[in-house]
Amino acid sequence: MIRRAAIAETLRMFQEENLDVRTVTLGLNIEACSSPSLNQLLDKLRASILSRASGLVQATRTLEQRFGVPVVNKRISITPIASVAAGHKRDALVKVAEQLDKVAGETGVDLIGGFGAFVQKAMTETASELFDSLPEAMSKTQRVCGGINVASTRVGINMDAVRKAGQTIKAMAEADKANNGFACAKLVIFANMPDDNPFMAGATHGQGEGDAVINIGVSGPGVIKRALQRLVEEVGADNLTLADIAEEIKITAFRITRVGELLGRELAQSLNVEFGIVDLSLAPTPKVGDSIGEILQAMGILKVGAPGSTAALALLNDAVKKGGAFASSSVGGLSGAFIPVMEDATLAEAVANGSLTIEKLEAMTSVCSVGLDMVPIPGDTPADTIAAIIADEMAIGVVNNKTTATRLIPVPGKKAGEQVNFGGLFGASSIMEVRTINGSDQFVKFGGRIPAPLQSLRN
């Protein structure tokens, strides 16, 4: 029999520490749906997705029952729409978004990602039309999400795309004014966007992926926080070093990742598709006890954003990767610790009490995944200032050869310090102050491409 203590430890992760599998994401290649006829494109999309994804939700529920492991979200990611719908204009792309929303609803999944494009070097005409469609497409639909890659270590930063992203985000917020600009929570701007990310809003089924694949995103901040608290209680803070803390995180990350690996393998088998990757990212929720900020507090950072926060986060991120990589046959996606302000109650609290500023948050994103995520900013922040914030985050990713991203939400009519609440997993927060507005407009207006850094020359 498995050791009784081992059974108890596994049970505790689920019963007391909020462990779940955050998402099972079925990646689908839909390139074959391309058609110059809009009606044919819409019909093909529907047939292609329904034929392969209609069993996803039920198969996942069966596994939830068998293993007693909650799976919070069931999702679909698809080939970037800018390539599938090449040649179509803005209005047609809005129709495509509506069709995806409808089909996703029919399959029962929570979200569908891939309404995006890769424009890191240059923008195709369709990608430009896709940008223009986003305000209407994202405010009219419930389940559709998008990710746009505007930069990579290999080619640099497409500043024309960055500027367009700033303008588009501003327009999206205005188009969805009634919902405090919630549409912006469904768009991620990336540097070095991964092809197999299972997490929304940036999930995309990228180039080089197969016809259909199951990718898993785990969770588990609560489990790691409790493991560290127990370690301190049992051994005593005076008898511990940061190496001990890193070791504890590693061991715990191993166990969390194994849950994802098990679910992924079983689900892929039952759906008769390939098992892709486990994304090791620690994904918090607004629930108390399920927060990255609380892990930092357990590591001795009393106020998130205080000096030492970046170093603590770097240790956490590294230990999670080491433990997780050993637990899974194939690690991918974003694989790091997320610090989404609105989705993490402790981070949101740190914003409210002034200890966490957007500048410190940006510094922290240089050592973890993924970037300035779910950051509400004043509604009157100019488009070019939004673009400049994006450019900074992209530069961190490009120079450090890692994925970074932004999910900025200019909340219409609201100022720094006011509250915004999207509810559910999207959470709530005070609006973060953006300083030195318009201080970099000329830099953004130059446009063109920031050349690839020297580290891109690796051959």
């Binding site: 029999m1 009784r4 596994t10 029952q65 068998r66 007693g68 194994r258 849950v259 046959s329």
Partner: protein
Amino acid sequence: MALQTSLGAEAAVTMIPLHPTNPVLPPTDRYILTATGEASTQVIHSLTALVAERGGNFVDFSFQNSPAGVSFVAELDLPIDLALDQLQIDLQHVGAEAGLHVRLQHQRLFTATNEIAFRRLG
């Protein structure tokens, strides 16, 4: 033949070939049943009876009674075609009446989270 010779003509011996019959057991999956909570009487009997009634077979179990409450951990085989969801509901119902939190989970979950080699998960 030696026996027939010694018994004489009035005796007959019929040779019946022996085909050992292995009982055909239905295919099963291994699960871990756990029950934790306040100490109470009769509940273990109720849980085990319920499992037995659905064709389950206990292969190991342990029970601990401490000031913090009781903890029952059992390993059991269940027919693969069993209505698992219904058994889980019924077990939880029986447990809840006695103030116990009951869970029935596939063994592979515990192996996966506690053993290094994934290939041993079966």
